[in-house]
C-alpha cells in the first residue's frame, strides 16, 4: 500500500467511524452481559473505580524495621500466624509527594523514625502513566478460602500471571535474589498433588480467570515435577505456561527443552542481565552470558518463546539497559521482548544500608529516560509508555465478544499504574529497522474507541466493524517505518496472539516482529503501598492461598512464613536423603556442552519406504 492509498483508507475509516457513532449515539446503550465466569455484569468504562492517584497523597505502608521483627516472631513461634492475618503489624501511613523534581515516599514510624525513598525521577512521566490507567477490574467474589491474608489480601482483578514456586532450590547463587535461594537452611518444595490442588483452586472463584501460569522458585526446572506441572496446567485450560528460569538446564540439556515444550511449556521468562560475560558478573558465573546464548539456542530450537528478564540495579548494570534492548532487536527472531525489573531490596538484600539503597535505587522513570537517551529520542517517555493496566481496554471488548457462555474471562492485567509500564515496538529482523508502535498507531485514541464499543455493547458484527474502523483510522502509515504496512501489522498481531486471528494458525515467520519492552517494579519495604498489593495481578499461589507478589516477597514476608510452615526438610537432611544438586557460583566458569548432538547419529536408513522422513523436521 502506498502512502496515498493508506491515507485514503484512514480517512474513509474515520468517516465510517463517525457515521456509525452518529447512529450509535441515537440508540440507547445495551446492558452489559453477565458471563458465568464473572461476579457481575461486564464493567463499563465509567463504572471502573480507581485507587487514589496523583500527589501529594497518603497511603498505607510498612515500617521496614517493625515488619522484620514481626516476621521473626511468627517464624520462631513467639507470635501466632493469626496475628499476621488479623492485625496491622508494622503498618504505618506514608505520604507520596513531589519534591525537588522527584516523586518520593516518606513515612515515619514512632519507634524507628523516618524513612524516605525515591519513586520517580520525572513527575511528568509518572503523571502521564497514571492518567492512562483505565481503572480497576472486578472485585473478587467467593474467594474467601484463597484470599485470606488480612491487609495483604488481594481484592480486585482476575490476575494475569499466577506464580507458583515449585521449589526454593536453585543451581545459582545470585546477588540480588529476592527469595534468598540456597541460603535459608531448609527446602520448601511442592509435591505434584499440591501443585494440582493449587491450580484447581485458582479457577474455583469469580472472576474465573484465563491466566498464565508462571512456575518460579528457586529454579523451577529443578523441581522433579516441572514437566508434569506444565502438562497439568495446560490440560486445565490455563492460557500459557511460563517459567521464571535462569536457563541453565536448557543450556546443559537440549533434550529437556524439547520435552518441556511437548509437556506444555510455552514461555521462558528468562533471567538475562547483560550482553557480555562481564555484565553478568554479579551472578557469580564467569561465562554466564555464553550459557545464556546456548539456552536461547536450545529453547528456540524447541519452539519455546523467550522473554528475557533483567533486574536493573543502579550503578551495577543500569548501563546495560540500552545495549540489552538493542540485543533484543538484533535477535528478534529468537526473543519476544524484554522485561526490565528495577531492583527490589528484599530477600538477602533486605539488610542493605541506606547509602547503598539510595545509590542502587532504580525506577521505571529511570528506565524510560535511559532508553530515550540511548536511542537518541526514538523511545519517547511521554508518548510511548503505557501502564500495564491499559490492556484492560482490549480485554473488556474481548469479553464482550466472547459472550455470556464463555467459561473464562479474558487475560487482563489491571494492576496499579505504579506497578509497571511498557512499550510495544515493531522490528524488522532482516534490516534491523524498528519503531515504537505508538509512533504510527494512536494507541490512546484506539483505547478510547474500544471503550465506546464496549460501553455501547452492540452485537458481535457491529462491534467487529467498529473495531476494524478503529484500527484503520488510527494507523498512520506515513509515520510507520519504511516497509511496514497495515497488513504487516495484522500479521504480527496474529503471531503475537498465538494465531487467534487465523483460527490457531500462525503465518510463516515474517520480516516484522512485535516486541514487548516492559518495566515491572516490585515493591520492597521502603516503597511499599497497600493500594498496589490489593490490586495485584501476579499473585503467588501457595499452600496458604494466593498472596500478592509483593506481600509474598516483601511486605510482612509471607514467603518466609509459608515456607517455614510447609518446609519439607532442612537442607542437610535433604542432601543426605535426596542427593546434592550442582550450584554454579564462586565466579568460576561452568562447563558447557561443546556442541548440540545430532538428531540422528547413524547414517544408514533402514526400511526406507516407511521410515523416510517426510515431515520436513522441526
Amino acid at each position: 500500500m502506498n502512502d496515498l492509498v493508506a491515507a485514503t483508507v484512514k480517512e474513509l475509516a474515520n468517516a465510517g467511524w463517525h457515521t456509525v457513532q452518529t447512529v450509535n449515539g441515537l440508540v440507547p446503550e445495551n446492558a452489559s452481559l453477565q458471563p458465568g465466569w464473572a461476579p457481575g455484569p461486564l464493567i463499563k468504562s465509567r463504572e471502573r473505580t480507581k485507587p487514589p492517584l496523583g500527589w501529594p497523597r497518603e497511603t498505607d505502608s510498612l515500617c521496614p524495621r517493625c515488619v522484620v521483627d514481626t516476621r521473626n516472631a511468627i517464624i520462631s513461634g513467639e507470635r501466632d500466624l493469626a496475628d499476621l492475618v488479623q492485625g496491622h503489624n508494622g503498618e504505618i501511613k506514608a505520604t507520596i509527594l513531589e519534591e525537588n523534581g522527584r516523586v518520593i515516599v516518606r513515612k515515619t514510624c514512632p519507634e524507628h523514625g523516618t524513612f524516605e525513598d525515591l519513586l520517580s525521577i520525572d513527575p511528568e512521566f509518572s503523571r502521564v502513566i497514571e492518567a492512562r490507567y483505565p481503572g480497576r477490574d472486578f472485585r473478587t467474589a467467593g474467594d474467601e478460602r484463597i484470599h485470606r491474608h488480612g491487609t495483604s489480601t488481594i481484592r480486585y482483578g482476575r490476575g494475569a500471571v499466577l506464580t507458583i514456586d515449585l521449589t526454593n532450590r536453585c543451581n545459582m547463587m545470585c546477588n540480588p535474589c529476592f527469595m534468598d535461594a540456597n541460603q535459608v537452611g531448609y527446602v520448601h518444595e511442592l509435591t505434584l498433588d499440591e501443585i494440582k490442588q493449587i491450580l484447581d483452586d485458582s479457577i474455583s472463584f469469580k472472576p474465573r480467570r484465563q491466566m498464565s501460569v508462571q512456575y518460579s522458585g528457586g529454579e523451577p526446572t529443578m523441581s522433579p515435577h516441572f514437566l508434569e506441572a506444565c502438562r497439568y496446567a495446560k490440560d486445565l485450560g490455563y492460557y500459557s505456561v511460563q517459567a521464571a528460569t535462569n536457563g541453565l538446564r536448557f543450556a546443559l540439556e537440549p533434550e529437556f527443552a524439547y520435552q518441556a515444550k511437548e509437556a506444555g511449556f510455552d514461555i521462558a521468562y528468562f533471567q538475562f542481565d547483560g550482553v557480555t560475560n562481564d555484565a553478568n558478573r554479579h551472578r557469580h558465573i564467569s561465562n554466564l552470558f555464553d550459557a545464556k546464548l546456548m539456552a536461547i539456542k536450545n529453547m528456540r530450537a524447541a519452539g519455546i518463546e523467550i522473554v528475557p528478564v533483567t533486574t536493573v540495579v543502579n550503578t551495577v548494570n543500569d548501563s546495560q539497559v540500552g545495549p540489552l534492548l538493542q540485543f533484543i532487536i538484533d535477535n528478534c527472531d529468537d526473543l519476544g521482548g524484554i522485561s526490565f525489573q528495577p531492583v527490589s531490596f528484599t530477600g538477602r538484600d533486605e539488610g542493605i544500608t541506606d547509602a547503598d539503597r539510595h545509590r542502587q535505587r532504580y525506577t521505571i522513570s529511570h528506565l524510560a529516560h535511559e532508553l530515550h537517551r540511548y536511542f537518541d529520542g526514538k523511545v519517547d517517555p511521554y508518548r510511548d509508555w503505557y501502564p500495564l493496566g491499559a490492556v484492560g481496554g482490549f480485554t473488556t471488548v474481548v469479553d464482550h465478544l466472547r459472550g455470556a457462555e464463555a467459561k473464562f474471562g479474558g487475560l487482563a492485567c489491571s494492576c496499579h499504574p505504579n506497578c509497571g509500564s511498557s512499550v510495544f515496538i515493531v522490528a524488522n529482523r532482516r534490516n534491523g529497522t524498528w519503531a515504537p508502535v505508538t509512533q504510527f498507531f494512536d494507541v490512546q485514541a484506539f483505547l478510547n474507541d474500544l471503550a465506546v464499543i464496549a460501553d455501547s455493547a452492540r452485537g458481535r458484527t457491529l462491534s467487529l466493524v467498529q473495531i476494524a474502523l478503529g484500527m484503520l483510522r488510527h494507523f498512520d502509515q506515513r509515520k510507520a517505518p519504511p516497509g511496514f504496512t497495515l497488513t504487516e501489522f495484522l500479521k504480527i498481531l496474529n503471531r503475537k496472539t498465538n494465531g487467534a486471528l487465523m483460527a490457531g494458525r500462525k503465518p510463516p515467520p515474517q520480516d516484522w516482529k512485535m516486541l514487548w519492552v516492559g518495566g515491572m517494579w516490585f515493591q520492597d519495604l521502603w516503597t511499599y503501598d497497600f493500594r498496589r498489593t490489593e490490586m495485584c495481578v501476579i499473585p503467588y499461589a501457595t499452600q496458604e492461598g494466593e498472596i500478592s507478589f509483593c506481600a509474598y516477597n516483601t511486605g510482612v514476608g509471607w514467603r518466609q512464613v509459608v515456607e517455614n510452615m510447609h518446609m519439607v526438610a532442612n537442607t542437610k537432611d535433604w542432601f543426605q536423603r535426596r542427593g546434592r544438586h550442582k550450584i554454579y557460583a564462586g565466579d568460576r566458569p561452568m562447563d558447557l556442552p561443546s556442541r548440540s548432538l545430532p538428531v540422528v547419529s547413524a547414517p544408514e536408513p533402514v526400511g526406507a519406504g516407511a521410515h523416510a522422513c517426510g515431515c520436513g523436521g522441526h
Binding site: 546443559l252 515444550k261 465478544l401 487467534a500 500462525k506 535426596r578 542427593g579
Partner: protein, 378 residues
C-alpha cells in the same frame, strides 16, 4: 498476549498463507550401533502423545515420549546412585509385561547393565534358582513374583535392592517403583541426565544387553543372551518386516515377555511413530475395537477367540458397495461394518499380526484374509 478474536475478519485473508505449527514426531529410520543409542535416538526430538498406552483401572493412561524418557532416566539414576548398579551388573525383571517393565529395561541397559527377564509364573523354587543363577544387583518384581519371593525379603548374593511393581510397599525394606521414580526425580539434574546419556552413548556394541531365562527347559537353568549390537540387528529386521507409518498403533497382549517380544517392543518404542498399547487379559476384544490397531502381537488363543467370535456374527445385511470397496482399497477406515468380520473383530484397521506362539494352520489361513501374518514371536 491478549486474545484478539475480534480481528478474525481482517485476518482471514492472511490465513490463506498460514502454516500449521503443531509439533510432530519425526521418524527415525536409521539404525545405530547399540540398543542404548537406539533408545537415546528415539527419545530425542520426539513428540508422540503416547509412546505407550496402558490400562489404569477403567481408563487408558498415555505415556508421552517426554514422560517415558524422564521415567527411564530417573530409574537409571536411582539404580546408579542409590543401588550402586554398575556396567555389566545384572538387573532382573520378574514381572508380567507392563509399562514400568519397559522403563526399567531401558534404564538398565542405558547404564550398561544387563536386563535379565525371568518369568514370574515359574514355581517358587525355579524362580529362586533362576535368580540365584542370574546374580542380580537389583530385582524388579511384580505382585505375583513377590508372593513367591517372600515379599522381597529373601536374600540373594549380591542383591542390594528389591523394587516392587506395586502401589503399596509389600514390606518396609522393599520400595515401590513410584518411590524410585520420585526419588530419582530429585537426582534428575541436567548434569546427571547428560552423564547418563553420555555413558549410554559410549557402550560398546559387543556388551551384553538383554538376557532371558529360558523357562522351556525343565530341570536346569538356561539363558538366552544378546549383546547391544545383536539386539539392534534384530530391531532392524523387525523394522524391515514391519515398517511403521505415522500414527500406527501396535496392540500387545502378553504375559511375561520372551526375548523376541522384548526386541519387538524395542523396535516399536524406538521407531518414532508407533504407539504401543499394552492390552489387558480378558478385555482384549473390546480393547481391539476401541483402539483399532494396525499391528497385533498376541497369543494364539486370543486370536482364535477373536476369529471364532467373528465367525459367529451374522453376515452384513447389505452387500459391500463400490464406496466400501474403494475405501478398503485405499486403506481408509470409514464404516467398519462393511469390513471382513475378522478384521472388524480385530479393530478394523489391522495390517499385520504376529502371534506369540505356534499358530494353527487353519487359523493362520483365516487371519491372512485380513492381514499379513508373521512368524511366531517366541
Amino acid at each position: 498476549m491478549v486474545h484478539l478474536e475480534w480481528l478474525l475478519a481482517l485476518g482471514y485473508i492472511d490465513s490463506l498463507f498460514a502454516e500449521r505449527t503443531a509439533v510432530t514426531s519425526r521418524p527415525l529410520g536409521t539404525l545405530p550401533e547399540t540398543l542404548a543409542q537406539l533408545y537415546l535416538q528415539a527419545m530425542r526430538h520426539h513428540a508422540r502423545e503416547a509412546v505407550l498406552l496402558w490400562r489404569d483401572g477403567d481408563q487408558w493412561a498415555p505415556v508421552p515420549d517426554w514422560r517415558f524418557d524422564r521415567q527411564v532416566i530417573r530409574i537409571a539414576l536411582y539404580l546408579k546412585e542409590r543401588a550402586g548398579v554398575k556396567p555389566e551388573d545384572r538387573v532382573a525383571i520378574v514381572s508380567e509385561l507392563r509399562q514400568e517393565w519397559l522403563a526399567a529395561e531401558w534404564a538398565a541397559i542405558g547404564l550398561g547393565a544387563v536386563s535379565v527377564a525371568v518369568d514370574p509364573d515359574l514355581a517358587p523354587a525355579r524362580l529362586t534358582g533362576a535368580l540365584v543363577e542370574a546374580g542380580p544387583r537389583v530385582v524388579f518384581a511384580s505382585e505375583t513374583a513377590l508372593s513367591k519371593l517372600d515379599n522381597g525379603t529373601m536374600s540373594l548374593p549380591g542383591l542390594t535392592e528389591m523394587i516392587a511393581f506395586t502401589t503399596q510397599r509389600p514390606t518396609d525394606s522393599v520400595r515401590t517403583i513410584a518411590e524410585i521414580v520420585e526419588l530419582g526425580g530429585t537426582l534428575d539434574t541436567a548434569e546427571r541426565a547428560q552423564a547418563f546419556r553420555a555413558y549410554a552413548r559410549s557402550i560398546p556394541a559387543d556388551q551384553p544387553a538383554l538376557s532371558q531365562h529360558d523357562a522351556s527347559i525343565e530341570g536346569r537353568v538356561a539363558w538366552q543372551e544378546v549383546s547391544h549390537g545383536q539386539g539392534v540387528e534384530r530391531v532392524g529386521q523387525w523394522w524391515k518386516l514391519r515398517p511403521a507409518q505415522e500414527g500406527d498403533r501396535t496392540y500387545v497382549l502378553a504375559g511375561s515377555p520372551s526375548l523376541a517380544l522384548r526386541l519387538a517392543l524395542h523396535a516399536c518404542v524406538a521407531d518414532g511413530y508407533t504407539m504401543t498399547v499394552l492390552g489387558g487379559t480378558g478385555r482384549a476384544q473390546a480393547e481391539l475395537r476401541e483402539i483399532g490397531p494396525q499391528r497385533i502381537v498376541a497369543p494364539p488363543a486370543m486370536l482364535e477367540d477373536a476369529v471364532h467370535d467373528a465367525e459367529q456374527q451374522p453376515p452384513p445385511m447389505k452387500p459391500e458397495g463400490w464406496r466400501e470397496r474403494a475405501n478398503r482399497a485405499l486403506g481408509r477406515g470409514g464404516d467398519t461394518s462393511s469390513k471382513h468380520p475378522i478384521s472388524t473383530a480385530l479393530g478394523g484397521r489391522v495390517r499385520a499380526i504376529d502371534p506369540l506362539g505356534p499358530l494353527d494352520p487353519l487359523l493362520a489361513e483365516r487371519l491372512r484374509r485380513v492381514a499379513s501374518v508373521g512368524r511366531e514371536i517366541i
